[in-house]
Symmetry: C2
Subunit: 322 residues, 2 copies
Amino acid sequence: MDYEPKWYARLLTTATGFYFDEEEFLRAGERIFNLERYFNVREGLDGRYDTLPIRLLKEPMPYGPAEGHVVELETMLDEYYALRSWDPLGRPTDRLLMRLGIIREPRWPKLQVALDLRDLGEALRIAELAYLGGADWIEVGTPLVKSVGMEAVRALRRRLPGATIIADLKTLDTGWLETELAAQAGADVVCISGLAHDNTVRDAVGCARKYGVKIMADLLQVPDPVGRARELEALGVDYVCAHTGIDVQRDRAEEIDRKVAMLAELARSIRIPLAAAGGIRADTARKVVSAGVKIVVVGGAITRAADPRRAVELILKSMGKR
Amino acid sequence: MDYEPKWYARLLTTATGFYFDEEEFLRAGERIFNLERYFNVREGLDGRYDTLPIRLLKEPMPYGPAEGHVVELETMLDEYYALRSWDPLGRPTDRLLMRLGIIREPRWPKLQVALDLRDLGEALRIAELAYLGGADWIEVGTPLVKSVGMEAVRALRRRLPGATIIADLKTLDTGWLETELAAQAGADVVCISGLAHDNTVRDAVGCARKYGVKIMADLLQVPDPVGRARELEALGVDYVCAHTGIDVQRDRAEEIDRKVAMLAELARSIRIPLAAAGGIRADTARKVVSAGVKIVVVGGAITRAADPRRAVELILKSMGKR
């Protein structure tokens, strides 16, 4: 009998009493499949175990249309993982698991790789290396946004469908319009300036709710970070980011301990996750995380590294993620 | 004798004692030609008098390769004015006159048309209409920058070579990089946020000096506008902009008189030209100018007008410019 998904959906509705349409039926399958995979990965069975019998990989096919070929496993797995929205190690990404309702929150702490560059090609190259290294939160930095606009978000979304993409707009006005731009381009998180008027923050939050994206508010240049962070939380912002600007880092060689104490105070002052940005490197990431920071934003230490992938791996290790 | 520009340049150097290379020789010609035109326009002889004998315009050519044609004067004048960097009325623009050293400062007050849109095509359409209406300061608004990046500046520069282009980046960090982006794309003025750290402002100013562009600092959300305006002036900023944000305008129906008093105080507090933005319309532009504002920034009242060209003409009239 020729049974189509819509018939299965009706059977499932009848059997369970929960309403399934065709789309929800297919999503249930995706959820089951990914839940299994998520379980396996947790137990250590990640992409390293996705293989085939040695004969298929080593012995060329002696006849037929594939004569002379072996299975190109690596290439095919990369494509398969991308189609599944899994990361390059074959692990379901936070973005996928949240969409399927398997997890409610990202698996903190997260490393957010900030691409504060002006060239899109270079940004995409580094993003892919960072993603290969295990970073699945990728930020389109403000200079990149101003250089090429939302095309940066669209290109990154096409290239890394499983990644969580943050658009750092540092919005100061027209909160709805700018959030909408980024959401429609495929961003998951839109970063606005905490210096913006409350109306702008409210508009950004309202627009984010409509599109199912998150708002991060940046405390760069905010005179009273703790007080403003609380206000931003009350305004409905999802994340707050403590941020020392690039132009300031060069003459403010803060001792890490003072910075960490400030981050710990901020983290205690709000219930929403705290991000931290500005001069964080592999050797300081651990302390930042132990201060209660959930999102560790790293730019230059990755984008200017000779080996960005290795840099990501070291930072993740320092964060206790590998 | 076959005399090339470089020979004239040598003759001129010998005759005057001032050093002329070929480029400077050609510029001297351009300066003379434009100075004449500038004089004529001041006396009322603008593009309306650029015409040809009626026979060339009305009687089709009876023979030869142009048989059956008349001179398409309007079309040819538009192209000619654009090549000359004159405005659509055949008048040398401030940008040209300043480049040639004929004037040192723009002819204040200026109307700056803010294109706070997300679609580049629509922005270019309105920019051309505004330019036809007599506005030669055109602002690429922040949402447009974030939507399509510096392509907006490049496209506007190609379309309106005589216009002064302002890139409203509202820069909060990486002052050098962002100013460089806009300057290289063809902007004449780069607008940064007055909320930025002094290092960022200094970097933006330094980069602007290198590229021969101007920095405007925006007082949007600045708690102490007068104090900060003075600081920004001391940091080397060229213009300061008093700005009521779009998201704030809807619930702050300030009486115009209070606003004008605030602008007058600001204008008195600094020596550099003051810009004003936020909800200015034809009926209020006059008061804003009389408060000492040199750059009147108007967005919605032009971009949302049924007839943007007419809206520009009315505002310019209110500013005493027509």
